[in-house]
């Protein structure tokens, strides 16, 4: 919808029925990445200031790593760049090139990176860490109609449950420009939009998708058809997906007795599926 060659995010909806909160910038994560305190990152760190800015419509994440020093407040601290994120540390990924070691499976590393992240929301206002007031923070939306930019590698169809994701190495083979959106610095790695089914397969296997972990990153439902590089209309909803013990997801209660939207295989809980994936990655 409203696609044009310049790859901009044109917003036909003025965010009606939105649910917004005020959040703070994760300044500790920013300093850690910017000043080179990351050894063997999964994604290359970046030095330009512009890459650390939060722009309107970008996907925001929080750190979920146990070792991260806490702020000691009740604020939500978020960031919008994937640069410098660490995986298990066993393989280092070159931004645009092929993997260093051909035997390396990206599945395990992706799980390791995603385990340390938590989906937050979508930025409504901008934030420039070197200029803006940290205490004031900025606005993030979690629910309602919105238009995002499909910067992932998958085509989205109306009705798809969509998730926040990290850019995949495979995506870069087909497109050299990591940041597809006009105006975003080329060395900035944004978080991307991916269908739930694709993310679950990426985190697990095609036969045994890791829906438990993928469910942590559900953003909402796509309302329009969107190819990579085109805007996508979405209804954001963060917490109306019911999880049953079989790992299935139901977008609302009425669907509980009917066919689940996504059916996982034999995994009985989120924990068990995550554990099995860890084992696979070790093997």
């Amino acid at each position: 919808m409203y696609s044009n060659a310049k790859r901009r995010r044109i917003k036909p909806f003025a965010r009606p029925t939105s649910f917004d909160i005020n959040v703070a910038y994760d300044i500790r994560h920013y300093q850690k990445i910017k000043y080179g305190n990351v050894i063997d990152p999964y994604f290359p760190a970046v030095g330009t200031d512009e890459a650390f800015q939060v722009m309107e419509g970008e996907i925001l994440m929080q750190t979920n790593a146990p070792g991260v020093r806490r702020y000691g407040d009740h604020q939500m601290h978020v960031f919008s760049f994937a640069n410098g994120l660490k995986g298990s540390g066993t393989s280092v990924l070159n931004a645009a090139g092929p993997p260093k070691n051909e035997d390396t499976t990206y599945n395990g590393d992706k799980v390791a990176v995603m385990e340390k992240l938590k989906y937050a929301g979508v930025a409504v206002t901008e934030f420039t860490p070197e200029k803006d007031v940290f205490e004031q923070g900025f606005v993030m939306t979690m629910a309602g109609l919105n238009t995002l930019f499909n910067n992932g590698a998958s085509t989205l169809y109306p009705g798809d449950l969509i998730c926040a994701d990290i850019p995949n190495p495979a995506d870069r083979g087909s497109r050299k420009n990591r940041a597809l959106q006009t105006g975003i610095p080329h060395n900035k790695l944004q978080f991307v939009v991916t269908p739930l089914s694709k993310l679950a397969e990426d985190l697990g296997t095609v036969e045994n998708p890791n829906t438990g972990m993928a469910s942590r990153f559900i953003m909402g439902t796509a309302l329009s058809y969107s190819k990579p590089g085109a805007p996508v209309d979405v209804v954001l909803h963060k917490c109306n997906v019911i999880v049953s013990d079989g790992g299935g997801f139901y977008e609302d209660e009425s669907k509980f007795t009917s066919k689940p939207a996504v059916k996982s295989s034999k995994s009985t809980s989120k924990l068990s599926s995550e554990k099995s994936n860890k084992k696979k990655s070790k093997n």
Partner: protein, 272 residues
């Protein structure tokens, strides 16, 4: 969404639409041939609009709910911020729209105390619970304060709502953006004498080796989340109090209405 430009000028008399059939003048009696009924075109052109100059952010949707009284009057102690469940398929509620409504302590009491004639528990599976009860919303206030016999509750069903702080992560603080869940968890019976409080705070003995289900507030970092058979998202935290509740208050808040009432209130965004 109306623009500011449309709001200028003098205030109107308050008529929604001055032209028939919606004007007050057109409220004539319906003739035998239904000649005065509004036409299709009039019905397709609604006259009521939800126009506000600002964008609707963090709005709340509420619904009324008539409550059938319990013999022991549990419903009289429901307070703002209580999580409410409604019994489904209760044909006695149909004529007067009275419903069996339970807050979390009452719900847990029902789950472990309702018995079949053979003395087994009625709710011995998750499927039975979710077939019989629906999660409805969070109590906002009383709509009918004039009656002491029945309660008409105003319940938040979507959007911003105050709720009892029943949730606590396993480590650290509850913070903005955290997702709150209710989970149905099976508690296996133990071979020892045990008693549990009912919603009024009175202790009742539990039979030995009897397993029961309960609904527990949980978060994705908690042990109950992993062992839950059914997980229902309640909302996302948008405002949180500074003081961390004591674990014993949190535990008692699941079973005793008064303890649940004494917990601090936090703000959540429901069903978003």
């Amino acid at each position: 969404m109306a623009s500011i430009a449309s709001l200028k000028g003098n205030p109107t008399l308050g008529n929604v639409n001055s032209s028939p059939p919606f004007s007050f003048k057109s409220l004539s009696s319906v003739r035998g041939d239904y000649g005065s009924k509004p036409g299709v075109s009039a019905l397709q052109n609604p006259t009521l609009h939800n126009n506000v100059p600002e964008s609707m952010v963090n709005s709340t949707a509420r619904a009324p709910l008539f409550v059938r009284p319990f013999q022991r009057g549990f419903e009289k102690h429901y307070s703002e911020g209580d999580v409410l469940f409604v019994k489904r398929g209760d044909e006695r509620s149909a004529p007067r729209q009275h419903h069996v409504v339970a807050n979390l302590p009452v719900m847990n009491y029902i789950l472990r105390s309702e018995k079949n004639p053979d003395n087994s528990l009625v709710y011995d599976s998750t499927k039975k619970i979710i077939t019989d009860y629906n999660y409805f919303g969070i109590l906002n206030n009383d709509m009918d304060t004039g009656s002491k016999w029945q309660r008409l509750l105003n319940v938040n069903v979507r959007g911003r709502s105050r709720v009892a702080r029943l949730w606590a992560p396993e480590r650290g603080h509850l913070r903005r953006g955290d997702c709150l869940w209710l989970a149905i968890v099976r508690r296996d019976g133990e071979n020892k004498i045990k008693s549990m409080k009912d919603p009024a705070g009175v202790r009742h003995p539990l039979d030995r080796d009897v397993s029961y289900y309960e609904i527990v507030p949980t978060m994705d970092c908690c042990a109950d989340f992993q062992r839950a058979e059914f997980k229902l998202p309640i909302g996302i935290v948008s405002q949180v109090t500074l003081k961390k509740p004591h674990p014993s208050s949190l535990m008692d808040g699941r079973y005793v209405t008064e303890t649940c009432k004494s917990l601090e209130r936090i703000e959540v965004l429901m069903r978003i």
